[in-house]
Every structure is written in structure tokens, then in C-alpha cells.
Amino acid sequence: MSNDSLDPRVNRLKLSDANAVIKVEEGENWNVYEVFHQEKRGAHHEHVGCVHAPDPQLALVFAKEQFARRKKCVNLWVVRSADILAFDVEDEDMFANNLEKNYRDASGFKVMEKINKFKQSK
């Protein structure tokens, strides 16, 4: 099956068969890297955005200019976006709270009343 298009410019590109397996050689495509920024020593690295780069070293180099040029920064992490394992968006329902289990929420405990009562009794 070919990639027939109504647009002659697309046909001129001589795209390969739409069903053919696409093999991307190492280094052929630039990857997206997620960037994590550390504001001070000991603080958590926080996700701030992403950069395109051909390898991790250049991703770090680019991240420094994109995300650490103005804001205070002491360290950066980069990780290839493809290396991050995430839940499917459709699985969002797994995180939904069951209304009948709100006794599990720490916020559900009303302790101030008891504390105040205890203080008064002293």
C-alpha cells in the first residue's frame, strides 16, 4: 500500500509504505529529554520542561541555557522522555477516591477539638 495523498507535494516525497516497519538508527533522530531543576543543594529536583537533543550530554548543555540561565540553579538532571514509565491516561479512574473510604483521609480526623479539650483540662 502506498501513501497516496491528495496533495502532490506529499506524493513527491516518496514516503515509504505506511505499513512498513520504521527503523530509526541510533543518533538519527533527536530525542526529547525531560529536565529537572534543583534550586539549592539538598532540595528536590523539580520538573521544569523539556529540550530536544541528540544525546544526553548535549541535552544537559541545552538544559542549562533553557532552564538555568535566569533562575537560581545548582544542578540539573535530564532523562530521555521515552525512558519514563507512566500510567495510561485512561487509567485515571484508578486514582479516583472512593467516597465511602474517606475515613482513610488523614484530613478526615478532627483532632483540634480533642487537643483543645486536653489543654483546658490541664
Binding site: 543518533g27 550530554q57 548535549l58 548543555v61 541545552f62 542549562k64 540561565r69
Partner: protein, 254 residues
């Protein structure tokens, strides 16, 4: 006592290299190969102009020199002391990157040596820009590796760029006939010859890692002349463009 004339000579050639290299690199703004690199290269160009400004200020404040802006933008071409390396037009990204690599390592060994300078403003400046230079050379090394390893074409172009640039880059280390001995004796800096050898020690391992061949330096004739005020035909148009806005109204306050 260090002679003011010797210090002035050294500062002007260092500062002019930074200013002209910074201006050349800034010509890539908006034309970089990818957005991230466009921003990185432009930002480093600004750093270089900042180094030039810091040096012109030392000249102004410590050695009775002119106001930095006027000194940078109103001097005639023959009073510039930049090397021919930085004057050359940008060419392709291969040439620009190779020049960036060779120039920034030369800059780094020079400023590192100033940490122990007998001239105190040099010590302060070298401490201040140490981190910037570390980043600039990291950027240059990463790109040299990447482009030399990416494809046959990339490798061939980087090797050609190296062959075309090396004599110009060696010309950065043109010694001053009049002041070199005095500056070394007064421990202002270790001298051009010593810096040249330190520079070769820095670039060689990176080139080896990138499988690039450093030409036999004994067969290379360094391109001298810039430090004596002899320039390529490329400098005059650059200066005209660089000073265009400033010279519309030289008394304007910015």
C-alpha cells in the same frame, strides 16, 4: 612595578578578541540549527561581550583608559588588537563551532593563568568568569564530539574546519615584541608561548576522542599581525556595523 603600557597592551588584545568573537557569534542569533542551540550560542556570545566590557572597565578604572563604550565603538580599525581568528566571517556552522572550540579553550587557559596574576584585577576577573568558561568549553566539546561522530559528512566537515582554522587559532598566541618579557618577569601572566602549549594540551584529548587529526603543529605557520594592528579586510565592515547605532549619537545615554 608593572608598566602601564605593557598591561594596557595585554588587556586591549584580550578584550578585543572577546568583543569581536562575541559579535561574530551573535550574528548566529535567529539562524542557529535548532532553537535550543540558537539560545545557547547567543547566550555565550553575550558572555563574551561581557568579558570584553569587564576588561575595558579595568582599563578605564585602573589604567586611566577611555570610557568602555567609546573605546569599543569609536576606535579606528588600526587601533584594534584582535587576532585574525575572530575577524573571520562565520561561514558555516562547522567553521563557527570549530572556532568556538579552539577560541574558548585558548580563553580558558589564559584566564586560568590569571588566577595567580600579580595584577589583582585579573585575579578577580578570572575567578568571576571561571564558571562561564567551564560551560562554554563543555558546550564546545560536546558539539565537537557529536558532529564528528554523527555521520561521515559530519566527520569530514569537522576535520576540514579544523584544518582551515588551526593556523588562525595558533595566531591568538602572538607574543608582544615590546612587552612580553616585562609581563612575564612581573608575573602578570605566564606568556604566550606557555599558554600555547597549555592550550594544545587541552584541545588534543578532545580531538582524539572525536577521532579528529590535529595537523602537525610544526608545519603550521600561525597567522600573526592582529596584535600589531594589521587586520583582515573583514574587520572594517564588522566595526562599522557594530558601531552603527552607537555612532548615531555618541553622547546619548543608554
Amino acid at each position: 612595578m608593572i608598566s602601564n603600557a605593557a598591561l594596557t597592551d595585554l588587556i586591549i588584545k584580550m578584550a578585543d578578541d572577546e568583543l569581536i568573537q562575541g559579535h561574530r557569534n551573535s550574528e548566529w542569533t535567529g539562524l542557529g540549527p535548532v532553537m535550543e542551540e540558537d539560545i545557547a550560542f547567543s547566550s555565550m556570545a553575550q558572555d563574551k561581550i561581557g568579558h570584553a566590557w569587564a576588561l575595558y572597565r579595568i582599563l578605564h578604572e585602573n589604567l586611566g583608559g577611555e570610557d568602555p563604550d567609546r573605546f569599543a565603538f569609536m576606535r579606528p580599525e588600526k587601533d584594534f588588537r584582535c587576532s585574525h581568528l575572530v575577524e573571520m566571517p562565520n561561514g558555516g556552522y562547522d567553521f563557527s563551532l570549530m572556532r568556538h572550540f579552539l577560541f574558548d579553550h585558548a580563553e580558558t587557559v589564559r584566564y586560568e593563568s590569571l588566577q595567580d596574576s600579580s595584577f589583582e584585577p585579573f585575579q578577580l576577573l578570572s575567578k568571576k568568569i571561571k564558571g562561564e568558561l567551564k560551560y562554554h568549553t563543555l558546550h564546545a566539546n560536546a558539539f565537537i564530539m557529536q558532529l564528528s561522530k554523527a555521520s561521515e559528512e559530519g566527520y569530514a566537515r569537522m576535520q576540514t574546519a579544523l584544518n582551515d582554522t588551526i593556523a588562525l587559532a595558533a595566531g591568538v598566541f602572538e607574543p608582544s615584541a615590546a612587552h612580553e618579557e616585562a609581563l612575564m618577569a612581573e608575573k602578570v601572566y605566564p606568556g604566550e608561548k606557555e599558554l600555547y602549549h597549555r592550550w594544545l594540551d587541552r584541545i588534543y584529548p578532545v580531538l582524539v576522542k572525536a577521532s579528529l587529526n590535529l595537523p602537525d603543529m610544526n608545519t603550521i605557520t600561525p597567522v600573526y599581525g592582529g596584535r600589531q594592528g594589521f587586520h583582515t579586510t573583514h574587520l572594517a565592515p564588522l566595526l562599522k556595523e557594530m558601531g552603527e547605532v552607537f555612532n548615531l549619537d555618541t553622547e546619548a545615554s543608554w
